[in-house]
Symmetry: C2
Subunit: 209 residues, 2 copies
């Protein structure tokens, strides 16, 4: 799959490396495609990924992954130009800078904001577990869940195997408005990791019978 990744930080970098290793055509959208950091990231993919502007990366891809910090999200989306025909995967969490909570929620969500800005088919995914667990999501023999939600069944069908490629068990939790519930779940993960000092080695899963 042709995948643009807006942002090359912990989340985008880890996703891109894993997807490139799986044979996907990965293009990072970054402000400085020739920077030392981006050059090192591309080298770490064995030359299997490229980098360009947000607009270049998005134009060449069918799936656009939003993985910049929340305050940079709107600009990154608007940089891309027309996204109406794209699937956008929103990985963001709208965190307060002091990590005491979310800057928005309850009556909306980051994912719904991204949908409004982009006009794209948005799927929320990859936000409820720390990026350090991507590609390393077995916990005592049990695979952690990768929760995702969205309103477009075809878009979710494209995202589901991308979640499995990251080593997570894809769990569809319904419409995009349920991002109002997945973003607080992510905040709980983060609060436990940072504020409650658990560190990053935990993950949510849904038991079923």
């Amino acid at each position: 799959m042709k995948i643009a990744i807006l942002g090359a930080g912990n989340v985008g970098g880890a996703l891109g490396k894993l997807w490139a290793g799986r044979g996907h055509e990965v293009r990072f959208g970054v402000p400085e495609p020739k920077s030392e950091k981006v050059t090192a990231l591309l080298a770490s993919t064995g030359g299997k990924a490229q980098a360009g502007s947000n607009r270049e990366a998005a134009a060449a891809s069918e799936v656009v992954v939003l993985s910049v910090p929340w305050p940079a999200a709107e600009k990154a989306i608007r940089d891309c130009g027309d996204l109406a025909s794209k699937v956008v995967i929103d990985c963001t969490n709208p965190l307060r800078s002091d990590l005491t909570g979310l800057v928005l929620g309850h009556t909306t969500s980051a994912a719904e904001q991204v949908a409004a800005w982009s006009g794209a088919k948005v799927v929320k995914a990859f936000n409820t577990i720390g990026a350090g667990n991507y590609g390393n999501a077995e916990f005592a023999g049990t695979r952690a869940d990768g929760f995702y939600c969205g309103d477009d069944a075809a878009a979710k069908g494209k995202v589901k195997p991308l979640i499995a490629d990251i080593g997570l068990n894809p769990v569809d939790v319904g419409p995009l408005r349920n991002a109002r519930l997945l973003e607080p779940l992510a905040m709980l993960w983060i609060d436990l990791a940072i504020n409650q000092k658990w560190g990053p080695n935990h993950a949510f899963m849904l038991l079923r019978r």
Copy 2:
């Protein structure tokens, strides 16, 4: 332990029955202690539980469990009189009547409202899993988690074994303000059960390594 349970519906009834069976001294606080429904509930405990007004139940108990529907919560708490010396376990979820979301959240939570009304040491617990799973919380050999949060360590110490008594694995997720995260988690459980038609046989757990 002497436990008052405000409300004798699905949640309170199930908790009271299980705790009475474990030897706790259970008193239901209900508007009509002699009603057919309450009489049947008391009979189902083998006569090990009692019923009275909210005030009578609370006065005789060290732990007061709030398990009425959210619109009835404030009155139930105020009925009890002075709760400053009590531990209050808040099991509620502030659901919209059409189950499309919560009536409050993000900047507050039901649990924080209950703390403001009662002046008690409040612990949020039992809200993130359907009551039908109380006493029946093994999922393919794995015990579901019973998440709880609160600001008072001694109160949490009293609640933890009560969670284990219900068959859940107690998981302390920090301060009471994290009810802002547990209530959306409960909403996700409910949305999956009802709106996404999963039914009640699922439960969240935290994988760790």
